[in-house]
Subunit: 321 residues, 2 copies
């Protein structure tokens, strides 16, 4: 990443799910040159554009460029990966046509081990990871309901933030996204896991929203124990997360009322989940450095079984039709 | 327990569930003097007697003595508690009319801490505990389907087996129940927990039969880890359970095919469960001596939440009617 980042970058967004549409709408609205790769619903997206509703704003981007293949888009300055990590196998085909020597690739995916598949295709030196604190759902093609627009933290894969990481953060801020560039991407990822591992996980296993989790004495204590395991595992990698951060998670969650974590929504609506990135990989990394994570591992196993069971039920239902 | 046990004891059985009916039928058939206290279905029980079907036999006890209160039964030589531990609060009223100075009280309940409530009412010195290895369900009043007649281990509460413990074991053997008297009742209870804690527990949390648990790689490993926690906790109390016993559980469970643990049946049919005796008390005792039982504790919390959720759903349903 030696070349400086252009003033008006050509931007590709891979994926027109909730994140792709939300951030896409913001960028289009800010006048950026955005090209969206959508697996489905392209006619509706082209005809109706993007519509985002947040608690304080309505963003409408009527004219958007929608594509069915990355070859049609061609090389870009910035590629934003807004698909799930479960679709990362496809990056080997999807990414190359979008790349030129100085393209920056930004992945919005959750969990650990999400930069590596991008680095394998694009090379490690141009990969940036984003941690998105956001609550939004896609309710129809191009239509996103955003309950919590949140903020975004970005960092360079395996290295401190450079000039281009800061340029990408500035691009987001111009588009109205609160974004900061940080020097330690992995520490940021572990920070987000502190909430995601217990709350997304227990929501699936117990099948309940965050208010129910907090109201149950055992589950509330369990969420805390799991958070402590995440903090201790992160510490083994030299990532210091203060204990007060754990308390803060409970204070914040209490304010979220009956929040349906994204994993619970995906689970209930029969969609793929980032099991390995949010639960499997953190457990494997923790164990590889001798961190004791019995509850995280148990949660991982329970989630995996639950999703396997759901998938078997969906398959049986589909067969009946 | 100084007096010797009579040749033909007057026997009371508290509870006409699966266990009460199964063991009651065996005792009646063996010519014993049996008096059964039943909370409900008394007319049917009196009219039709007890019917038990095992893989190899059919036992019919046409004439049985059924009662609605323990006062009607009066003092007995042996009182068999065949209700759930969740009903133990009632023992304060139910037990006293059945007792005379030398009455032996035998509890068939599962888990830890089940002798204590009996001892509080009847005094510790005449309490015997039984660990029943049996698979049976009550399909109608007095009708029991027994998939695995199993065996019974009995022991005196807090002391080595005495003359009367051996006499009770001999009574069971005369009635066709494989029964041995052991000197260390608590060790026997921990033995049974090795299977009950993971398999009954995970069956509830995952909502599946034992074959599904064994077929799932994560849950199978989790069951093993939980068993190891039980074994380590027992060891802290001086109860040595060999590691080979853990392997044996998996071999035996594999032969059980699609077995529905009794707790899963109770859970699915909306009945009370012995949560504290099977999960809560073992966790508390283990922690009191510094044993690390993170998975057992997590399982306990998940089960409690799941049952609370089920009870709330049942209540909401009942309100709608």
């Amino acid at each position: 990443m030696s070349a400086s980042f252009p003033e008006t970058p050509r931007i590709a967004i891979i994926g027109a799910g909730a994140l792709g549409c939300y951030y896409g709408a913001r960028l289009v609205k800010a006048g950026e040159d955005v090209h969206i790769l959508a697996r489905s619903g392209r006619a509706a997206l082209t005809a109706q554009g993007l519509k985002v509703k947040t608690p304080t704003e309505r963003i409408t981007a009527r004219k958007v460029h929608i594509y069915g293949s990355s070859a049609e888009i061609g090389p870009c300055d910035l590629v934003i990966i807004a698909t799930k990590a479960t679709a990362n196998e496809a990056l080997r085909q999807v990414l190359p046509p979008l790349l030129k020597p100085d393209t920056v690739v930004l992945t919005l995916q959750n969990g650990l081990g999400v930069e590596e598949p991008v680095a394998e295709v694009a090379g490690p030196d141009r990969v940036i990871g984003a941690i998105c604190y956001i609550g939004c759902v896609r309710t129809a093609p191009g239509v996103v309901a955003c309950s919590f627009p949140g903020l975004m933290t970005i960092g360079k894969f395996g290295k401190p933030a450079g000039e281009r990481t800061h340029a990408v953060a500035a691009l987001w801020r111009r588009a109205g996204v609160k974004c900061t560039a940080q020097d330690n991407l992995e520490l940021q990822r572990w920070h987000k896991l502190v909430w995601n591992v217990p709350f997304n996980g227990l929501a699936i296993v117990a099948g309940v929203t965050t208010d129910v989790l907090l109201a149950d004495e055992g589950l509330r204590l369990l969420a805390r124990r799991i958070m402590e395991e995440v903090v201790e595992a992160a510490a083994k990698f030299g990532h210091e997360i203060p204990r007060s951060f754990v308390d803060l998670q409970f204070e914040r969650t209490a304010k979220m009322a009956a929040y349906r974590p994204s994993s619970l929504i995906d689970f209930e609506e029969g969609r793929d989940l980032e099991i390995e990135e949010i639960w499997g990989e953190p457990v494997r990394r923790a164990k590889s450095v001798g961190a004791a994570v019995p509850r995280m591992e148990m949660l991982y196993w329970l989630i995996k079984q639950r999703i396997a069971q759901r998938n078997a039920q969906l398959k049986a239902k589909a067969r009946k039709r």
